[in-house]
Amino acid sequence: MTVFSRLLQLALAVLLLCSTLPAHAVDVVRAGSGSQAAYREQQTTSTVLMVSPDDFGFNAETAGSNLFQNRPDASSSPQKQALKEFDAMVTTLRDAGIRVIRLPSRMDARTPDAVFPNNWFSLHPRCIPSAPASGYWWGIRCWPPTVVPSGVLISLSASLQLMAWWYIG
């Protein structure tokens, strides 16, 4: 296993643990104590970002390594049905008092799995006001820069961007 893939695996694990924890449960455990700290530092949010499945479908690019995708038959239209399921979830969350920021999928490229943003993460401001005019930073587009206040944490790009950030410090 290369160093890069090992670091990528580590970064994903960090991100997924943090993004898995529910409202009450991001805890800081004191070093070496083996027990809970006297205080617990907890992170909560009542706001989530979701990306509508506007181009949802079979991802041929990842099919070779992802055996769990379902290849729909030619007559079915999973995108419309997926959009209904997505809309129902947004409604359920809003009914529960959660603020949902709903973004569209990019339509200038194939984005069959844009509906799953949980594995991307970026929490640096570099790509926002100071980004090159092209809107790219280390080859990955910051999306869309205008909605992101400087310094605010938001999920924008792929984990590769995080890795580049890690490498550079």
């Binding site: 695996q9 997924l16 409202a23 992170q43 605010v152």
Partner: protein, 171 residues
């Protein structure tokens, strides 16, 4: 910050939220084959395959940098003993039906994907979990479920004693 290290290369449990998820500050679910199974007295009746165990490194923010403060803590021990959570074991069949990839809206209230076994539903109900079951059978065709479709974008730091119980919110 806890970093979970998973050395088991198993595609159907490729991300943490495919084999572990938190329901409340004292309750979580995990795929049963990853943990030691115990009887009512706490005796281990079936040990997990060591190759399927995850390990945890702990980091603490010190002066603006994360410093590693502990290494290779068994994940089960970390969750049960350090975080004092009870783990509900989930069968492989229910894991494959996205039974773990739910979204916790607040303590003991989750949005989950329907299609799991009645036994799993009963286990959640017995633990006092309020579940909204959703139809996701098209979206799961892309190999993701409720948790995968959301990203928390803003956090608020709350400081409280470990004995207190906070209100709603989501991450």
């Amino acid at each position: 910050m806890a970093v979970v290290k998973d050395s088991w290369k198993n595609q159907d449990q490729m991300h943490l939220d495919t084999y572990f998820n938190i329901i409340d500050k004292d309750l979580a679910v995990i795929v049963e084959e990853r943990i030691d199974q115990r009887d009512a007295s706490g005796r281990v009746v079936k040990a997990a395959d060591p190759a399927k165990r995850s390990l945890v490194d702990l980091y603490e923010l010190q002066g603006g940098n994360y410093v590693k403060t502990a290494s290779n803590i068994p994940f089960q021990r970390f969750v049960e003993q350090d975080l004092k959570m009870r783990l509900i074991p989930v069968s492989n069949a229910d894991q494959l039906k996205y039974g773990i990839n739910f979204l916790a809206v607040k303590g003991r209230q989750i949005l989950a994907i329907d299609g799991v076994s009645d036994a799993y539903k009963k286990r959640l109900a017995d633990a006092g979990v309020d579940v909204v079951w959703m139809d996701f059978h098209n979206l799961t065709g892309g190999y993701g479920a409720a948790h995968c479709t959301t990203q928390a974008i803003r956090g608020e730091m709350l400081y409280q004693s470990s004995n207190q119980h906070s209100g709603g919110g989501m991450l």
